[in-house]
């Protein structure tokens, strides 16, 4: 029988095949595979780049200079932890330090030198950048003052700082350091009260039983990470009278205020009145450290005259702090010596006024916080770097319009020195050079941005915090390759100075040589905590080798110089102190109520409506502290 296929038969067969295919598993498998592909895209597969090793180095993010141990697979760092035996950090590091190995690849990392002009930006090669900075230095050297060079160092005391000073001296320019902030201002105020003008002081929080912070974020960020909470928790095993307690004096409920044992919220600007009120109670009730005051201080009468107007009632009307609280705090501080009072800042983030710092310094002297055995504020020596080159000046001493070339250090932050503070110093057509490894901040105002080295890219000696109880020195090791366009600021500056035909004065010996020559202190192993006296080392090379392996040099304790500390520094009078403290605005009831509201309403309701947040007191932490509502 002949096969008679019509067009209709072909269409029917095709339709049947299509219907059958739809009813078969095949299309569903395809859909499923596509769905899996969309749901499960390829993810990176981390692979070890070599054998694992723990490498020691030092963090350069902030002046504390914490000891680090970086876990590397081959040359690739994958995590960062604290060096457990490091004397500067005690094994603790901050959250930013935990990600130090990521920072060289941060989106804001500058990767090439950039020249900015009216038409926009253009990238520069390294040679072109050296030529541009060299030309600027030559112009500054030729102009002298005004129109000369100003180098602003973000972290004085480093080997690079000596080079900055040498370049500034060779170009006939100036070398400036940022104003001190936070508790360092209280220490500086105390130093000014010494007959020895070069006296350097540090804080040993472990020696204190009461720590009063006037806005200083001691419980959340200042100094060695986690130090004060560790000390406080450790003291809880002691008898009640010997425990360490923290009193936070701050207008807003910061994290430190929330964590403190007591929080006192004065009206902003009335901190000096509160400090003088506490001093007045100490004086009236004879609660001062008489032995220390008599043997180590002078000028108590003047300070007493300054504190005289500040009765607890007056302080209460000025600050909004109840009179009974002022009296109780004074008695508590006197009963739990050693106590230390440290300034920080005001609610706007600005430093406390000089008069307030003067009042805090006087309060410390009354409490015997300086000069006694076991006092929390101790004398220390400067770091090992010997001063040379241009002497440091305050930014306030640089005349407006006098800077023709401004060089900004890579560690200088806009928070430490706002651009609005630098702008008036510039002459017309001045050139601004930034050595910051990052874009943003002050670097965005630079005409020439030459990116320096980020943390873990830097190598060299790192001095410790200038506020610590003793000078320290560690060594940073470069564990991450820097971007091709980044430069080592020291090498770059030397090349630029040579291009400008500047003759640099001889640089001081290296910090390691300085330490070895002093024969002072000991090198503490960052892992085991074992100490090796510097005097037992054979050569500076042996000292450098210990630092390279994660050791940290710690200076010996320094005696407080002979002579008496004055309650009033040169230029201060009792009347000026009182007048400034009385200038605080009286606290209206509405402001006091606002503070009280913040105390109970800082934590917003949790957005995570889980069983945990509904059935316990757990709440989502506030993202930012509410500003003071005037």
């Amino acid at each position: 029988m002949p096969l008679d296929l019509s067009r209709r038969d072909l269409l029917l067969a095709a339709t049947g095949a299509a219907t059958g295919a739809v009813l078969s598993p095949l299309p569903w498998k395809l859909v499923d595979d596509v769905a899996i592909w969309t749901q499960r895209p390829a993810t990176p597969t981390p692979r070890p780049a070599g054998p694992v090793a723990l490498r020691p180095t030092t963090c350069t993010l902030c002046p504390v200079a914490c000891g680090l141990r970086v876990r590397c697979f081959g040359d690739v760092p994958v995590s960062v932890t604290g060096a457990p035996g490091h004397p500067a950090s005690g094994g603790a590091i901050c959250p930013l330090g935990l990600t130090a190995h990521h920072l060289s690849r941060h989106p804001l990392r500058a990767r090439t030198a950039t020249l900015r002009h009216a038409r926009g930006e253009e990238p520069l090669s390294r040679d072109a950048a050296v030529a541009a900075v060299g030309a600027a230095l030559a112009r500054a050297a030729h102009a002298g003052r005004p129109g000369g060079l100003l180098v602003v160092d973000g972290r004085p005391g480093r080997p690079l700082s000596a080079l900055y000073r040498a370049v500034a001296a060779a170009a006939g320019g100036r070398y400036a350091t940022p104003p001190r902030v936070g508790p360092a201002r209280t220490l500086a105020a105390l130093s000014r009260r010494s007959p020895e003008p070069s006296l350097t002081l540090g804080v040993d929080l472990a020696a204190a039983r009461r720590v009063v912070c006037f806005g200083a974020p001691l419980l959340e960020g200042w100094g060695t990470p986690g130090l004060l909470p560790r000390l406080r928790a450790g003291s809880r095993r002691r008898p009640h009278e010997e425990r360490l307690e923290v009193v936070q004096v701050e207008a807003v409920r910061s994290r430190s205020a929330a964590l403190a044992d007591r929080w006192i919220a004065p009206v902003p600007g009335s901190e000096a009145a509160l400090a003088l009120g506490i001093a007045r109670v100490l004086l009236d009730e004879g609660l001062l450290d008489c032995r220390l005051v008599e043997s180590r201080t002078e000028g108590l009468e003047g300070f007493a005259r300054a504190a005289a107007p500040f009765t607890p009632g007056t302080v209460s009307s000025l600050s909004g702090v109840p009179a009974a609280t002022v009296v109780a705090l004074a008695r508590d501080l006197a009963a739990h010596r050693p106590a230390v009072v440290l300034g920080g800042g005001d609610p706007a983030g600005s430093p406390l006024p000089d008069e307030t710092e003067a009042a805090l310094a006087g309060l410390n002297l009354l409490l015997g916080s300086v000069g006694g055995d076991g006092s929390p504020i101790v004398a220390r020596r400067e770091g090992p770097a010997a001063p040379a080159g241009a002497p440091p000046v305050e930014l306030a001493d640089v005349p407006d319009g006098s800077v023709g070339v401004l060089v900004l250090d890579g560690h200088l932050s806009e928070r430490a020195v706002p651009w609005s503070r630098l702008l008036p110093l510039l002459a017309p057509s001045a050139t601004v050079v930034s050595l910051s490894p990052w874009r943003g901040g002050l670097a965005d105002h630079a005409d020439l941005h030459v990116p320096g080295l980020a943390p873990l890219e830097e190598a060299g000696d790192v001095p410790g915090s200038p506020d610590a109880a003793a000078a320290t020195l560690s060594r940073a090791v470069a564990l991450v390759a820097s971007p091709e366009g980044a430069v080592d600021p020291a090498v770059f500056l030397k090349e630029s100075a040579a291009r400008a035909s500047l003759v640099l004065p001889p640089l001081p010996p290296s910090a390691v040589e300085g330490v070895f020559a002093s024969r002072r202190g000991r090198v503490v192993d960052g892992t085991t905590g074992e100490a090796t006296p510097v005097g037992s080392l054979a050569s500076p090379g042996a000292l450098g080798e210990l630092l390279e392996k994660g050791g940290c040099w710690v200076d010996d304790p320094a005696p407080l110089p002979r002579g008496r500390l004055s309650f009033l520094a040169p230029g201060e009078t009792a009347e000026s102190l009182s007048r400034a403290a009385l200038a605080a605005r009286p606290a209206p009831a509405a402001q006091r109520a606002a503070v009280a509201r913040e105390a109970v309403a800082a934590a917003p309701p949790a957005s995570l409506l889980t069983k945990l947040t509904r059935e316990t007191a757990l709440r989502t932490p506030p993202v930012a502290v509410a500003p003071w509502r005037a």
């Binding site: 749901q39 959250p95 935990l98 964590l259 069983k611 316990t616």
Partner: protein, 252 residues
């Protein structure tokens, strides 16, 4: 717990005690955990609900009228002895290891139904809503000991199981069955600058963590649920203990 396969192998019950009087809420534990366990950075469009975090830090405020103090409370997976998440998982992607007491999340088995997230009363689990991505170049810095989880799966704290495996490998190489406790320390414990977290074997009565767990100042979150977490908290402040361990159930 079920008997172990090898009776000669010692059974552990790893746990931690978090001292709330030491915690400052700095977030170092969260950061260190994310770095160690390759938790991807949250994309810009993620929220508190959709981001991935293995250890969340919350705040508890003194509820008394004059109280202004706060404590900060890190909340990782509570590693329950009776985990509700394990019971509801249709894929058996949640496993309680009887040898260690660690509640593991097996990412390759997870189908992303999120029943476990609904069952967990501690909000300790996260769902990968987004494709895991790292900024330019940082994928090269991932920890090779921990695999990256895919989008569409649930993840949570594993007590840094990768570190436990490394410690076991080290012990095996030295010819020992037992690890050195110093070799197995989770990243959050190592990173805490206040030393607020103590980790160890709760079955070992001589360990610091077991000693702290026995003290009257230690407590568990939501104890009435009977999940028996191996993460305990402690505080000398009675208001902290009352606020976090004695639920004030408000229904309706």
């Amino acid at each position: 717990m079920e008997p172990t396969a090898n009776p000669r192998e010692r059974r552990h019950r790893y746990g931690m005690v978090i001292d709330l009087d030491r915690c400052t809420g700095c977030g170092a534990c969260t950061v260190a955990c994310s770095v160690e366990n390759n938790v991807p950075p949250p994309p810009e469009r993620s929220t508190e609900r959709t981001g991935v975090v293995w250890i969340r830090v919350s705040e508890a405020q003194d509820p008394r009228p004059a109280g202004a103090r706060s404590v900060f409370v890190p909340v990782p997976c509570q590693q329950c002895d009776d985990p509700p998440c394990e019971k509801v998982c249709p894929q058996r992607a949640v496993e309680l290891d009887p040898k260690t007491g660690i509640v593991a999340q097996v990412a390759v088995r997870c189908l992303g139904c999120r029943y476990c997230m609904a069952a967990c009363p501690y909000h300790a689990r996260s769902f990968n809503w987004f494709r895991p991505e790292w900024p330019d170049g940082t994928a090269a810095l991932l920890n090779p000991d921990v695999s990256v989880r895919q989008r569409g799966t649930v993840e949570k704290c594993s007590f840094c199981a990768g570190r436990l495996q490394a410690a076991k490998a080290k012990a095996a190489a030295a010819g020992s069955r037992e690890i050195d406790p110093a070799d197995y320390v989770p990243a959050c414990v190592e990173a805490c600058p206040s030393r607020a977290i103590v980790f160890g074997d709760l079955e070992d009565p001589s360990s610091e963590v077991a000693r702290l767990a026995r003290e009257s100042e230690s407590f568990r979150l939501l104890p009435a649920l009977g999940t028996r977490p191996k993460v305990l908290y402690r505080s000398v402040e009675p208001w902290v203990r009352a606020s976090l361990s004695q639920p004030e159930v408000s229904r309706g």
